[in-house]
């Protein structure tokens, strides 16, 4: 009856967790949180890890999907025109996620069926990327694959699936780390924790994560966008002052 006992322990832990996290008791099969809910891009930002952790009420696998804010994205294809490579064809994808990462406690194909993966957008190839305008399905597919490949190269759709570790088999606690590179887009991210049993997602739990510029870099960015006239003048004055200072310091040969 060990199975029965572990189940009970998990329930107790989860009840505690649920109370702390103020999750409705009825939905308390899965509870989770992030080590922080804000990733701040400061002047020294070189990328950042966020720890995702939680507890589940019994056996099963954990799949975590992190999606960045949706942005309209153009995929352009170069063609050779009289010897030179030029952007010719393009397809616009509406609200394509700007970041996409998956973490799982076992290899994905072993724990979720293809249908479930599609339905819950698990794995970059299962993202719903709608092509804008009149584009044939084959064409759209080629551009979709290219979008994922380009985002992978930029480190925004990490190919490697982070490992979700279950440190103690008795109490079903889990944790994983997701790396946000220095070129991470800003905005509101969604983090979906899924409890998977027998190939089905039996519980989904969502948290929000905000990636934003902070400190000096935030101030400069806001200044440039909100008061662009003044920003332009300040940029020029800084340059003139620097040039004058340089000639005063080194000049008069």
């Amino acid at each position: 009856m060990t199975w029965f006992r572990t189940r009970w322990t998990a329930f107790t832990v989860l009840f505690l967790g649920a109370a702390i996290l103020t999750v409705p008791a009825s939905a308390a099969k899965l509870a989770a949180d992030l080590s922080r809910s804000v990733v701040s891009i400061t002047t020294g930002f070189v990328g950042s890890n966020v720890i995702l952790f939680g507890a589940a009420d019994g056996p099963g696998h954990i799949v975590i999907v992190v999606e960045g804010p949706g942005r309209d994205t153009v995929v352009r294809r170069k063609s050779r025109v009289s010897g030179i490579w030029i952007n010719r064809h393009s397809v616009v994808f509406r609200k394509a996620p700007s970041f996409y990462a998956v973490a799982a406690s076992s290899p994905l194909d072993e724990i979720v069926s293809a249908r479930t993966a599609k339905r819950f957008r698990i794995g970059a190839e299962n993202l719903v990327l709608k092509a804008d305008g009149k584009v044939s399905e084959g064409q759209a597919n080629r551009f979709r694959v290219a979008l994922i490949r380009n985002q992978r190269r930029a480190g925004l759709f990490p190919k490697e699936i982070s490992k979700v570790v279950l440190p103690d088999k008795g109490v079903r606690l889990f944790r994983t780390e997701i790396f946000f590179p220095s070129n991470v887009p800003t905005g509101a991210y969604s983090v979906r924790f899924m409890l998977v049993r027998d190939g089905f997602v039996i519980q989904q739990y969502k948290r929000k994560l905000v990636v934003g510029k902070a400190g000096l870099s935030a101030r400069v960015f806001r200044f440039a966008h909100e008061q662009s006239i003044l920003y332009g003048i300040v940029a020029i004055l800084l340059a003139v002052a620097a040039g004058w200072a340089a000639s005063a310091a080194f000049g008069r040969k």
């Binding site: 994205t73 220095s182 800084l238 040039g243 000639s247």
Partner: protein, 306 residues
């Protein structure tokens, strides 16, 4: 040590930027050019988005031209009247250039246009400079002396609106300098350069200005044209990265001092020949990138604007 550039939205090593600024500053001090035509491609090469590289480089050139023009002004080598006419054209040109830049960005062809303008203009200037300097070196060796007239008169000089430019010892129509200023202004906006490499030969060969006032006058008008580009880019595309510009110019200012000292050890035509080789090397690299099959035919962008 990494620094996150707030507008470019990438993080870059501080010492890489200072080093780049220093190296280009050295060359610009050595050859008496702004160096924008080398800096902008290099910035794009290290991963700065092309629009940010172009706009921020314009901002940096403001600084290097200010420090350059002060020295020429002290020696009385700036023709302010000629500079003013070139400048009037430069304002019109840079306004058109920024508009064109914004339009090309929305249709996804900005990278191509930047590259093609580089290949075209740098190619021409590099070739001319190479031919001219090797001839001069050859002439020097063979010991021939060629006597030159003060300047030639072309039919464009007799166009209406004639003005007297005392410092340049010219009495010519104001239209040709205005047009030259406008063309260079367009290029300054699109290519992220001051345009000295075009302006200087145009002033010498097309307008017939005396060489001594050419560099100072060109620097004088470049300050205003690049300042205008900085201002217009800030308003219409928000691609001026002040942090990037300041880091580059910190390196450039110091490099330029060493460069100008090193320049005194070489002869004029040797310097021009060397510069021509560097220019042609840049052109060669750009042509290769345009013609060689890219590793990925697809690329991403944002529709419309940023």
């Amino acid at each position: 040590m990494q620094v996150y550039l707030p507008i470019a939205e990438v993080s870059v090593n501080v010492f890489l930027l200072l080093g780049l600024g220093g190296a280009i500053g050295f060359l610009s001090g050595l050859f008496g050019v702004g160096g924008g035509f080398l800096m902008t491609p290099l910035l794009i090469f290290i991963g700065i988005p092309a629009p940010v590289a172009v706009a921020s480089e314009a901002n940096q050139i403001v600084a290097s031209s200010v420090s350059g023009v002060i020295a020429h002004w002290r020696r009385g080598n700036v023709d302010f009247k000629m500079g003013g006419v070139l400048l009037a054209g430069g304002f019109v040109g840079s306004y058109l250039g920024v508009e064109l830049f914004a339009y090309l960005r929305t249709v996804g062809q900005i990278d191509l246009v930047i590259r093609l303008s580089y290949v075209f203009f740098l190619g021409i200037v590099g070739m001319l400079m190479f031919v001219e300097s090797s001839r001069a070196i050859w002439r020097q060796r063979s010991g021939k002396v060629v006597r030159r007239k003060l300047h030639k008169h072309y039919w464009v000089h007799r166009w209406p609106l004639r003005m007297r430019f005392r410092k340049s010892k010219l009495y010519i129509s104001a239209i040709p300098p205005f047009l030259i200023g406008a063309l260079v202004g367009v290029l300054a906006a699109i290519m992220g350069v001051g345009g000295g490499f075009l302006m200087v030969p145009a002033m010498i060969y097309l307008l017939g200005m005396p060489t001594i006032v050419v560099v100072g006058t060109s620097l004088f008008q470049i300050i205003f044209v690049t300042a205008n580009v900085t201002f217009l880019q800030s308003i219409s595309t928000q691609t001026v990265d002040v942090v990037l510009a300041l880091l580059l110019l910190a390196g450039a200012v110091i490099g330029a001092q060493f460069g100008s000292r090193a320049g005194q050890l070489l002869r004029g035509e040797q310097l021009r020949g060397l510069l021509a080789l560097i220019v042609l090397a840049v052109v060669g690299k750009l042509i290769f990138d345009l013609v060689a099959t890219p590793s990925d035919l697809f690329s991403l962008g944002a529709p419309g604007s940023h």
